[in-house]
Symmetry: D2
């Protein structure tokens, strides 16, 4: 195996080992077909958040990504998922506050359980991968910026989708039929 | 470790083991600061391609994502990177043909080395993860659609970035300084 | 009034004078709350198409923009709106063909009623503003590329929205309440 | 002419009459090929801002749209253009503040010269078209939300581009050659 791939795999393994089953369960437990789900994120972790949003659509959830063309007004009773490694992305935190004020459940996916984002969340899904800004002791990765967080995030959110598909009895064929 | 994470990790491991060092080297060898790089992709693998594009920008490459606001006309001598698991995404294949006609080098990142996309490429980076449309024997994943391809793609492209940063002597601090 | 604004206004006036009432009525007549509407477009006219899509959402239509995260598979009975000044934008034409094959109604908004896009459309909304590629006699604008088409398109699609809001009895307050 | 188009045209005319030549000149005067330009906006006026950004690219300016994949870090000496009808779009105002702190020139394009956005701007381009939230006396439009602002914005920014192309001696053919 290519050496750099091996190193990255090992780094991811160390992060995934620390993701808590109860975090994932509580997070998945908030997602239901009767709810409207808003997902928000920026930069590279935002792309993983978009991939998650797209998969939720394949699984026939009513889901929107903040900032896209057809995203409507949020309303009390909806669910807001905010993704930010640092938990400090200014616009994501603002949007989450707005969601909170409107009476949405706020779910934070973050590396930092004591961040501004995490503090206002009802549910936290912690992904302990090194993020941009981590330095010295905290930077436990040979990779750049938040790469390790982004990779771990991608896998954890895909795992959530897999569990949802099993819980909801949506087979691969059905999900494929919803694909553009 | 959460069982579903363990299963996904194992699936990814089996894919990464089959990625060829020479594919990665040849691919990275096409990317230089003097070149303009255009990246193209759709759907979930498109999001991984966008993450790759953003990281190349952090590493100070001149790079564009097809379909975004400031992407200019392609010209002979530029590099075109087309990402498509199936190698059949209609619009990506069209764009790659247009690139080919204009005299760009075409790099295909795909699961299918005999696909229409791969056939017109100068360089192929093969990522042998199950994609949407794979069925029966070919579907070597418990996951939905192309999830396994997308995850492997994410990691392989991040590995390319890591190698580029080492080759170009760009440290984490410098890349962070370019981050929005 | 600033002279350049006056000139642009006059150009737009000449285009709008030639837009046919029956084109607009037939176009609006295809849009109903029971239908799913897919909108497609590229470049600057694509931005006007996105503005139209957003407004349809405010008016509580079920509408998607092709290429965004939560756009699902098209199905027979849905409506496909393709915007292309030249009627030749490769990917828009491909998507429209795919829509046609799947049994959607195809509505073309274009400058060219004899273009590949217009030929496959069930309904054409012609907007006779100069587009990119028009030269000599055909280029009836001091403006760059397709600016005149884009401006006219913007106004015509907003006029359609205004008529829909009146037809459907959706007041400004209700539309505002749906705004993100 | 279709009646609704006539009404919209008249509304736009009343707005354009009030746009000040000196506002447009001062705004255009900030844009030079040696500068990096960042453009920011949300919703429908954001789409007009994207159209403007794309045209600046055609005119060979170094320009980025905030939130897109390859937008790098802002630096002192760059120019920040913030588009918001109300001058209160939370994330646009945040981004403009961040720009200000970093030492960029901030240009506000807005309906509200006394808004938070306008207050922090170095240059204001006022476009006095009715916006979302205007009610009673202030709502001088039969149209929905900020449609009138968006249309006027589109035309004013295109007029700026036309003037820049004349100032810089960029002909239509040259701009077309840069088009994707």
């Amino acid at each position: 195996m290519v050496e750099v791939l091996e190193q990255i795999e090992e780094e991811i393994h160390h992060v995934l080992c620390k993701v808590k089953a109860e975090d994932m369960e509580r997070f998945a437990g908030e997602l239901h077909h009767g709810k409207r789900i808003f997902v928000d994120g920026e930069g590279r972790s935002g792309f993983s958040a978009k991939g998650f949003t797209m998969r939720l659509m394949h699984l026939r959830y009513t889901v929107y990504f903040v900032g896209e063309t057809i995203t409507p007004a949020m309303e009390a009773g909806d669910v807001f998922i905010a993704v930010s490694g640092s938990g400090k992305s200014q616009n994501v935190v603002n949007d989450a506050e707005k969601a909170k004020q409107k009476g949405l459940r706020v779910l934070a996916v973050t590396r930092k359980p004591d961040s501004p984002l995490a503090k206002l969340a009802d549910v936290i899904l912690e992904i302990p991968g090194t993020v941009k800004g981590d330095a010295g002791e905290e930077r436990k990765s040979i990779q750049l910026l938040s790469s390790l967080f982004d990779q771990s995030l991608h896998i954890v959110l895909d795992a959530v989708c897999l569990e949802l598909s099993q819980r909801d009895h949506v087979a691969n064929d059905q999900a494929t039929a919803t694909h553009w």
